[in-house]
Symmetry: C2
Subunit: 209 residues, 2 copies
């Protein structure tokens, strides 16, 4: 077996295969860049059809990153997948799910730590102007939508791609109806930290180009 | 819309749905526990048919965890997804992909940092008796297989579930032929950090029960 071990060659060949898979879908940059990178991260072409962007969402994310926005994630896996942290774009990445006060307030409210972590970010005044990336917990996305619609939170962009059999599809359908803030999502049960991280990484790459 | 926000209820309902999806497949614990948790993490039932276990692989992983083994991952996303770190099981989780000397030796060898990180773990004597979990890089899995077959490395278990269009499926087919060490893998292009982390988390849960 001939193994391709050169990193540039692997990436080049991989993107050629993905270009072939997406041909004829009428995709254009920057949305196409996001979709290509999500399909690359998952090896799952289903995401090409499942992704949804509010008008100008990718552009809003790129502009926010260029302006030095912060990123808030629901889970540490998504945070770990963000490329080029400490490079100034994004300026900082926050994830509050493991904080003691997050656990306390989740227990008190009878909700998940992920949902409580969104409320904590809001109370700290971090949501406005930030990119919020949710890759795991539908409850975090539902809470974020509530904070936008009922408490006036205004993230620059919501990347909402939670995964799972309970609530994930429903939370993303709700996000797809949001008009107050730009969003990127993927309909259906599938999603996850690699989807959220790769979508954001596509925007980071564009912001730096 | 009625949102289920209680974490226990969400997990319970989710596992009921997955039990339904897996019914009739003739799965038994501990392999079934691994498959259930992978399908839970991905919301992708394709993994139920794609997963492969060498005889006694899950049991070998559980025994190694109970004996206090370490875990070595290819990427930080997989490391971040491992539950109950700092609880003694596993004893420690290593990921060398971002180390300066890993980058240097990768450049020198014309390979990926992920592949070089496996060699580094081997040179440090960390592979023997450890669980090696590879969720991203086919090159890391190919290198690990080489270290097992040519240099006598003897991990307690290899969880090899890299993802991608170039080399991932091939690397997992090679792993499925390995007889020297126990393995858990998923055939095909799909895989990823959530697959590796959830498979390992299922074993950690069983090791502690």
């Amino acid at each position: 077996m001939s193994i391709i071990s050169d990193p540039q060659q692997i990436e080049k060949k991989s993107f050629e295969i993905i270009e072939g898979l997406l041909a004829g879908k009428g995709l254009a940059s920057p949305d196409k860049d996001v979709i290509v990178r999500v399909v690359h991260a998952t090896a799952d072409p289903d995401f090409a059809d499942a992704m949804r962007f509010s008008p100008g969402a990718a552009e809003a994310g790129i502009a926010a990153l260029r302006a030095g926005c912060a990123v808030i994630t629901d889970v540490k896996m998504l945070k770990s997948g963000i490329s080029m942290v400490n490079s100034g774009t994004p300026s900082e990445v926050f994830c509050f799910i493991s904080d003691d006060d997050t656990a306390d307030s989740a227990k008190e409210a009878g909700t998940t730590r992920a949902a409580a972590s969104m409320r904590k970010a809001h109370e700290m005044g971090l949501l406005n102007g930030a990119i919020v990336a949710i890759g795991n917990a539908p409850t975090a996305l539902f809470e974020l939508i509530r904070l936008v619609q009922e408490e006036g939170a205004r993230p620059a962009l919501v990347i909402g791609v939670p995964v799972g059999f309970v609530g994930a599809a429903e939370s993303k359908e709700e996000l797809a109806k949001v008009t107050e803030v730009p969003f990127i999502t993927c309909l259906g049960k599938k999603g996850g930290s690699p989807v959220g991280a790769s979508a954001l990484n596509a925007l980071i790459k564009l912001a730096k180009s």
